[in-house]
Point group: none
Chain length 401, copies 2
């Protein structure tokens, strides 16, 4: 039986309310082998108390040894097999600026770049032009007309922008026009399948027109296309798992990922405090709320061990407020590890605590990587977290007689 | 390579003798988060001593979060993927009364029900008639003749009975005739595939004849058909794993499940004592014995925490006798959890101990849910237990050179 068919057949459309708290990049590493990780270093009396009443463990976002991007890591946590449901980079870029993609859109990341007189790329990032310059160039590019499709061009940051083509018959299976090295001309976009030919033609038309328009805008006198992908809405979370779901996140990309699986995105502010307020005010109407805390990952990426620790400290102080909101099932975890010592995402399993009145607590009394190794959930793949939350919420019927 | 093909290619038809003891619904929950489960509460010096010489862990009967029925839970323990091999409810009902199903039989659960003058169902259970009344009505229904098939009608309990059609060309893919709600007439049975049409016709003929025969037997003046399924023998256990297998169980359903995978069912009495005697006397001729203890589950279902504890206490006293019988590999576990606090099956992983002279003991010194979290087997899916038993019995060859 296919996995989603199983859940569709077992789901109950009523039951307890669930809260999934994702501290982005939570998992870490000690600064030296005998030391403590960021989470182990942080002062977390409230999460420790919760862990003592929870069943704990560690999840692998995708599979052993695999370091995930934010897309696959979140899809796994949402219960979607990240190898079956792969989100293209173009799509992720558009989601990251809150662009509301529609089913069938072709999404593309672009770099503004510099060409020399011979048409060879001399700087793949056009000297990292200011975001304001980028915005003006995007305005120019919006004038391009492509037959039969609607065109959207949106600045992202520095030299990066997002382009979306909307119209019938657009399919992925296209190479980047970025040659990856300087001294080469931009590549022609080619279709790897017959059905992608229309999209390839339009991409090449777009870059040809962009080249004309930008010819006097040195250093940003050309664009390179990357991660060209068709956007397809995924099976709907509520339809598969029977739980009406909402997302609370301060960063657009995580809102976009939640939208991708059909969650409602709740309007919130810029701080974790404001997210908590949104959770209290607007979370009550949902069976499932995904709640995202970004800064753990940001400081991990910066290599700032202490700042990551402080984000966790601060988060822990909010936990008692969350516990008072009446959720029947609470899970706290990360989407992946971002050890400050690695300054980037990693493959290391991520601590998880799963609390409910029926969770069967284990011997874990503190929330941390080493402690969670002794937990009742063991080491499992992230995709199994949602089924366990549903079970704890009384939302899955018995399989078979 | 397909899973069973792997074992067929690696199995050795000689090696140690294996005993799988299944305390039905063994896994439990504490009465409060800080408390002990049923197994942790029980006095189990003999299983604790065995655990100290064993490798321990917990199995998930089917998959994380999935609560299994007895059928899928047992198939998993027997090494059969419970998602690949799904047993229909009609088949399970027939197995539950020791009916010896043959390959190709169509098995049906029936409810006696009440129809009003207009032919609408007013009580889907005919006021839960006494089992003795049920038996008399079944005798009447046995007179029905259906062309080309043999008919069996057997009372189960109260309003429930089992019907089996035996003959060529009977296939599943049929809806229930039970409308699920009162105020509606019984539904016509329809075939979802061409090959199921013969079975559909015979089912409708059976209900039409039953209606005539029962018309004066108010309140049980009609039958509703449910869980109509073709019975197919599964791949044979001995053929796949190379071990001649026997089953000892006091309850018919578990004997039926063992028969389904080709185990010999040994005649035994009504008590665990009598099962032990059967094991001693008749188990010796087999490479593998499945030994089932029912009452742990029964008291779990009743919500009787203390009685479940006592069944475990009593079982533990028998363990020394079992150890003296010379098995080379002993596994003790449950088919699923039945926490008394939930009064039903649950998804929680089930403690396992696996003892053999080569098991590589871990640090687990007591047999219980929390302790087993620290075991060398980790948390695994039940379907992997049989391969580990075979390995410990020296019954699997090396894979590859």
């Amino acid at each position: 039986m296919k996995r989603f068919d199983l859940f569709r057949s077992l789901k109950r459309d009523e039951g307890g309310r669930m809260l999934l708290i994702v501290l982005d990049g939570l998992g870490g590493l000690p600064r030296n082998p005998a030391g403590k990780t960021e989470l182990e270093t942080a002062n977390t009396p409230n999460m420790d108390a919760l862990a003592a009443e929870s069943v704990c463990g560690l999840h692998m976002p995708c599979a052993p040894g695999i370091t995930p991007g934010s897309g696959p890591a979140h899809l796994g946590l949402f219960g979607y097999d990240p190898f079956e449901y792969n989100i293209g980079r173009g799509v992720l870029e558009a989601l990251g600026i809150d662009f509301e993609l529609k089913h069938g859109d072709l999404a593309i990341r672009i770099n503004f770049c510099t060409l020399d007189d011979k048409g060879l790329v001399t700087d793949r990032r056009a000297g990292r032009i200011a975001t304001e310059v980028n915005a003006k160039l995007c305005e120019k590019l919006r004038k391009i007309k492509l037959k039969g499709v609607e065109l959207f061009v949106e600045p992202v940051k520095e030299h990066r922008a997002a382009v979306v083509l909307r119209g019938p018959g657009l399919h992925g299976g296209l190479n980047d026009s970025d040659p990856q090295v300087t001294g080469h001309p931009p590549l022609e976009v080619k279709a790897s399948t017959k059905q992608a030919e229309k999209a390839a033609r339009l991409c090449n038309e777009f870059t040809a027109r962009a080249r004309e328009i930008l010819k006097n805008d040195h250093p940003a006198n050309m664009v390179l296309l990357r991660g060209i992908d068709r956007h397809e809405l995924l099976s709907n979370f509520a339809d598969i798992f029977g739980a009406r779901a909402a997302a609370i996140a301060t960063y657009p990309m995580y809102r976009g990922l939640a939208r991708l699986v059909g969650m409602d995105v709740l309007k919130t502010g810029e701080t974790v405090e404001s997210e908590i307020e949104t959770l209290r005010k607007d979370g009550a109407g949902y069976d499932f709320v995904y709640f995202h805390v970004k800064k753990t990952d940001s400081y991990g990426e910066d290599g700032n061990f202490d700042a990551k620790v402080h984000v966790i400290d601060d988060w822990d102080k909010l936990v008692p407020r969350v516990r008072k909101m009446g959720f029947d099932v609470i899970a706290i975890t990360g989407d992946h590890s971002t050890p400050a010592v690695m300054k980037g995402h990693s493959w290391h399993p991520v601590p998880v605590l799963l609390w409910s009145g029926l969770c069967r607590p284990d011997d874990v009394k503190v929330f941390g990587e080493r402690a969670c190794n002794h937990g009742g959930l063991g080491v499992f793949t992230a995709v199994d977290l949602i089924p366990m939350m549903l079970a704890n919420a009384g939302r899955l019927q018995k399989y078979g007689a």
